[in-house]
């Protein structure tokens, strides 16, 4: 172990997986430092040490509230983005038993799996389809809303393909529905939740301008500490806690507050939001340069997700047809390049990326997808290095590949190779109808 970690250090690393996690900013670490061994008090204690911790807690809460344009009591600290999503979704829905929820098919699993859990508990859930670039269609959303819809959960920016959803527009729709409900005497409230984990470093997170009622943030995507999340909850939104205990965070999230983490995430959000405009500009340029060059150097690739301003400035996601993403990833790793893939082989469930499938591409495109997410330390030189290395690897892996996909394919290619009616398990799950492959399709 020692030996290999030493070797990794001596080799130059090109980290292009900032959507997975970011380094912790040294300024954040400095802000957190005193709260480990010096000021370790429990903010619930009344003596001096406790009061000191409480003061730090309140300061962090106010700082985040100010950035979001919210009130301090609307900020709930949690243990991760996933926990914030779960608290928002399970919390709101369980407070309104049996009511309806709407989300979309390309949400993060933290939203999707909790929605599926609600279905098992008997809640009706609608999953909106998205278009070829990953956008939710507002017209379809209007149709999906029922008189008993309590929660709509749509992510701010997609973690895999960078699609920035029209949250402010959706919020307008929600307000309109609210007015209509008042007129018609329907007393069921309707709330809008957004997972803004990927967006927080690059986009406006002011909740008034966005118009959301619940918003998820986490530390590890904004150069803050891992194991820290925030849930903004507008006053008046009823939520049930996921568990009970000492009653911290207004009885919504019991457990001794992680003061160091809380101070850290507040500082990280401060820094991220103050840098966001400059970073956005710089990264958009780098992103577009990288996409342009990759398309110029490697034939037969497609961009997953939208182009330009409607795409997160740090996200590049391409499917390199006919090659498998995990093999590509391991080759890149050998050159010190760290990226990620939507291939089934790289996921714990062995399912290909639901996002790439969700935008209507066949599974081979998901299998072949590579995501490069840029960050604060990324330079043009880094991207040039990747551009230099990648064509050779692609050429090699294509040489050993038995498949030759059509760029505009919407069906899986070698269905006849699969046992059991030529369907892999996720295709069965999706209920996709496949054309019967001709026996000589190969």
């Amino acid at each position: 172990m020692m030996q290999s970690s030493k070797k990794i250090k001596s080799q130059k690393r090109t980290y292009l997986d900032h959507a997975a996690t970011t380094s912790t900013d040294t300024r954040v670490v400095r802000a957190m430092q005193p709260f480990f061994s010096k000021m370790y008090g429990n903010p619930s204690s009344l003596y001096a040490d406790g009061r000191m911790a409480k003061e730090a807690l309140q300061k962090a809460r106010s700082s985040i509230a100010t950035i979001l344009g919210a009130r301090p009591e609307e900020i709930i600290f949690t243990g991760s983005g996933t926990e914030s999503d779960a608290l928002a979704i399970l919390g709101v829905m369980r407070a309104y038993s049996g009511k309806h929820m709407i989300t979309d098919t390309i949400e993060h699993h933290a939203v999707l799996y909790n929605a599926e859990l609600l279905e098992k508990e008997g809640f009706p859930v609608t999953y909106l389809p998205v278009d070829a670039e990953g956008f939710v269609d507002i017209k379809k959303l209007v149709v999906a809303v029922r008189p008993d819809t309590v929660l709509i959960s749509i992510m701010y920016a997609n973690n895999e393909i960078g699609t920035i959803q029209p949250i402010a527009e959706i919020a307008k729709l929600v307000r309109r529905i609210r007015k209509e409900r008042i007129i018609s005497g329907n007393e069921t409230p309707i709330w809008l939740h957004t997972d803004a984990c990927q967006a927080a470093g690059y986009l406006d997170v002011n909740i008034e301008r966005l118009g959301v009622d619940l918003l998820t943030l986490n530390g590890s995507k904004i150069y803050g500490p891992k194991g820290m999340g925030v849930l903004y909850r507008r006053r008046g939104v009823k939520i049930a806690p996921l568990w009970l205990g000492g009653g911290q965070e207004q009885k919504l999230r019991s457990g001794t507050e992680n003061i160091a983490g809380i101070v850290g995430i507040a500082r990280a959000l401060e820094i991220a939001q103050s840098h966001k405009d400059g970073e956005n500009k710089r990264l958009s340029k780098l992103r577009d340069y990288f996409i342009r060059e990759v398309f110029a150097r490697i034939p037969k690739i497609v961009l997953n997700g939208p182009e330009g301003e409607r795409r997160l400035s740090n996200n590049v996601n391409i499917s390199i047809l006919d090659i498998e993403g995990e093999a590509m990833l391991l080759y890149l790793d050998a050159y010190g390049i760290e990226a990620s893939t939507g291939s089934a082989c790289d996921s714990a469930t062995l399912d290909p990326s639901h996002v790439i499938l969700g935008i209507g591409r066949p599974y081979e495109f998901a299998h072949a997808s590579m995501r490069f997410t840029l960050g604060r330390a990324t330079t043009k030189k880094d991207l040039d290095y990747v551009l230099q290395v990648m064509p050779g690897i692609v050429e090699k892996l294509r040489k050993i590949s038995p498949i030759n996909l059509d760029m505009n394919a919407t069906q899986m290619s070698h269905a006849s190779a699969f046992a059991g009616q030529g369907l892999p398990h996720w295709e069965k799950k999706r209920g996709t109808k496949l054309k019967t492959p001709s026996p000589k399709a190969q």
Partner: protein, 245 residues
């Protein structure tokens, strides 16, 4: 000797194709017990056991160009239902000795699929080639043993080589008129001690067994042959998806 020059040929081709040499290949071999990741159940190192690395970065017996007409006796293709890899194989059989003279392959597959197929191709063709009947007996576990292990969750999707080989050899049997030798899929012995076949497991799943424990209650499969458990789990998963998915 001949084999060695072939190996070098592939290596130089790869070097040419990639130009830059991955740093991994320059590293000294890691002594056993110092693998980057260790399988918590078997204690084996994986992903980058040096043998896996070697076969991943310098795969053996790849078919790099389109085959010429008559170059091979048969070809076959299989896909993994678990993760969607596709594997294609070509064989040339010495008809007199019934040995595998050549085995070439291509894959749209992940790192462990590449490494395990490369290893399989070496096992089948080394020392003058295996007898066809012997080669058909190679199990995923045997390939894994030669590779010093693979990640647990990868076993059931990445070791496609034996399945591709069976399909290819069946095509060869058909093409060469040896119809009596065709292997009927679905009657492969999984647990050698109890002579339990995948048909038995299929039936157990059809009767309602959903987990390894359920199947073991019915069949006692894998108890005396723990090495067969990964394959049993794969089959349970496959039949579950087939009948209940």
């Amino acid at each position: 000797m001949k084999q060695k020059t072939k190996k070098q040929n592939v290596a130089t081709k790869i070097k040419k194709a990639t130009k830059l040499q991955p740093a991994v290949l320059k590293r000294k071999p890691v002594p056993p017990g110092k693998y980057e990741v260790v399988n918590q159940y078997t204690g084996q190192g994986w992903v980058y056991s040096d043998i896996v690395k070697q076969h991943f970065f310098q795969p053996q017996n790849l078919l790099l160009d389109e085959p010429k007409k008559g170059q091979f006796d048969a070809e076959g293709e299989v896909g993994s239902p678990a993760c969607g890899d596709t594997m294609r194989m070509w064989v040339k059989i010495d008809k007199k000795t019934d040995r595998v003279k050549e085995l070439k392959w291509k894959t749209f597959g992940c790192g462990s699929a590449i490494a395990s197929t490369s290893m399989f191709s070496v096992m089948v063709t080394e020392n003058g080639g295996m007898k066809v009947d012997e080669a058909l007996k190679i199990r995923p576990q045997d390939v894994m043993a030669r590779l010093s292990g693979l990640p647990d969750r990868k076993i059931h999707c990445s070791v496609l080589a034996d399945k591709a080989f069976r399909k290819t050899i069946n095509n060869y049997f058909h093409a060469s008129g040896q119809h009596d030798r065709v292997i009927v899929e679905g009657a492969k012995v999984i647990d050698a001690r109890l002579n339990i076949t995948d048909k038995d497991i299929e039936e157990a799943v059809l009767e309602g067994a959903q987990t390894l424990e359920d199947v073991q209650k019915k069949l006692k499969v894998g108890v005396g042959d723990p090495e067969s458990i990964p394959e049993i789990e794969q089959l349970i998963r496959f039949f579950k998806e087939k009948y209940y998915g």
